[in-house]
Amino acid sequence: MHHGVDLRGAGEAMPELPPVERSVAREAARWLLRLGSGRATDADLRACERWRASKAEHEHAWQRAQRVNERFGLIPAALGMATLNRPELNSRRAALKTLIALVVAGPAAWAAWRVDPLDWTADYRSAPGERREVALADGSTLLLNTASAVDVMFGSTVRLLRLRAGEIAVHAVADTAPQPRPFVVRTSLGDIEAQASRFCVRQEGGLCRVSVQEGRVRLSSAAHPRSPVSLAAGEQSSLMDEGASAPSAADPHASDWQRGVLYANRMPLTAFATELGRYRPGILRCDPEAAHLRISGAFQVRDTDAVLAALPATLPVQVRYRTPYWVTIALRAPAEA
């Protein structure tokens, strides 16, 4: 019998193959097993071909098997195992093993089947939890915060960095070329132009925050490129869809991340979960019921699990690990009276 319950399945586009009897499916399965054993001989192969040719239904069963193999071929192994061999079907232990294997086997396995190379072309990138320092050809330096990506394009007229994702700290030095080239960080929301200066750029959502620690920079928003905003040391501004915001005093903790510190001053717990979540793979979320809580402190992001483990000591929360990569901060159930 045909079990095509799903009306929206991707298989609908393909012509349907005629159904086959179970006895024929079983024979086909035996052939597949024999040919896939690695010890199949030419004689086996010819015998299988004769079997397929001897009856239309045999060939139909064979074609069905080929289609099954095609389907499996579309699935990245690690992702397929995590989904099709999913936790609720197994013991919890086995599920965790699968997830861990996915992470360990991850990058190579994924790279092997990736089709679209565009996202992978960034010149420098950092993994979640990683900080990465890059020395540039002109003597400037670049520090990538967690999960960030940058392209470097130095030419004869401009020293251009393209910030694709995340957060960077730039120490731009004066150019020694006979005709000094400006140092430009390009974001989707606008350009940040500098000569010799230290500044941080953070891209998040529809906002790009720039703060200056030394020297000056000039922001030209994509919306209003002709009315740039100038920022001095100790000032910050944000590039937005509408343009650059007026300069304000820089957050003194804007560059704490360069020392691996996440600083919170009465920060809502949801925002804290989002911030801390940037430094670890997987998902870290805060249960809505705990969202009203506030947290203060300077946290070492190098070991986010330790930070999470310490939360219940200061807040009425518990941290639930469904897996190491799916973590929820929730209100602690009130103690029994």
């Binding site: 799903d6 397929g80 099709l84």
Partner: protein, 169 residues
């Protein structure tokens, strides 16, 4: 002489008018939400339409509808669990290596199909088959991992093929 196809389709109309509201309520109670219930009630009647020749002998319309609806419900829960597991697995993939939106959809649809094909297999047979098909493990490796004999692995893999051949779309 009345056209039997028209008569059968009239029967579906009658069935729909008399029991659709009730079926929707029944599904809502099972699912806890009205939107999914409306979808599944609709799917149930789509199935009824496909099999309308069975309606002539129908004595217990609500039992008939719930039989179909239960199967769809099971399928719905299975889909949800696949989707959930898939999303969790995707969340572990480094952003830079995440598949595009379109690839994600293709993979999900394929996973749902495969999951449906494998639905009738025993758990160890399913695992053995997946290890062979997805991870490309040899039968010897699978035997070692599952702690069963090579013969048993052969049986599992053959069963997996048989099941997929029967159920493939």
């Amino acid at each position: 002489m009345p056209n039997p196809a028209v008569a059968a389709s009239d029967n579906v109309h009658l069935l729909y008018r008399a029991h659709h509201g009730w079926l929707h309520g029944w599904l809502r109670a099972k699912l806890g939400n009205s939107f999914d219930a409306a979808d599944l009630a609709q799917d149930t009647f789509v199935r009824v339409l496909r099999h309308r020749h069975e309606l002539d002998a129908l004595r217990e319309p609500r039992a008939y509808l719930t039989t179909i609806a239960k199967r769809l419900l099971l399928n719905h829960h299975r889909r949800r669990s696949v989707e959930q597991a898939y999303l969790e697995a995707l969340a572990l993939v480094p952003e830079a290596m995440a598949p595009s939106a379109e690839q994600r959809l293709i993979i999900l649809e394929t996973l749902l199909e495969i999951d449906e094909m494998l639905a009738g297999l025993s758990l160890p047979a399913r695992q053995a088959f997946l290890m062979a098909q997805l991870e490309g493990l040899s039968h010897g490796e699978i035997a070692a991992r599952l702690n069963v004999s090579l013969r048993t692995v052969h049986r599992y893999i053959a069963k997996g093929y048989e099941q997929c051949i029967m159920a493939s779309i």
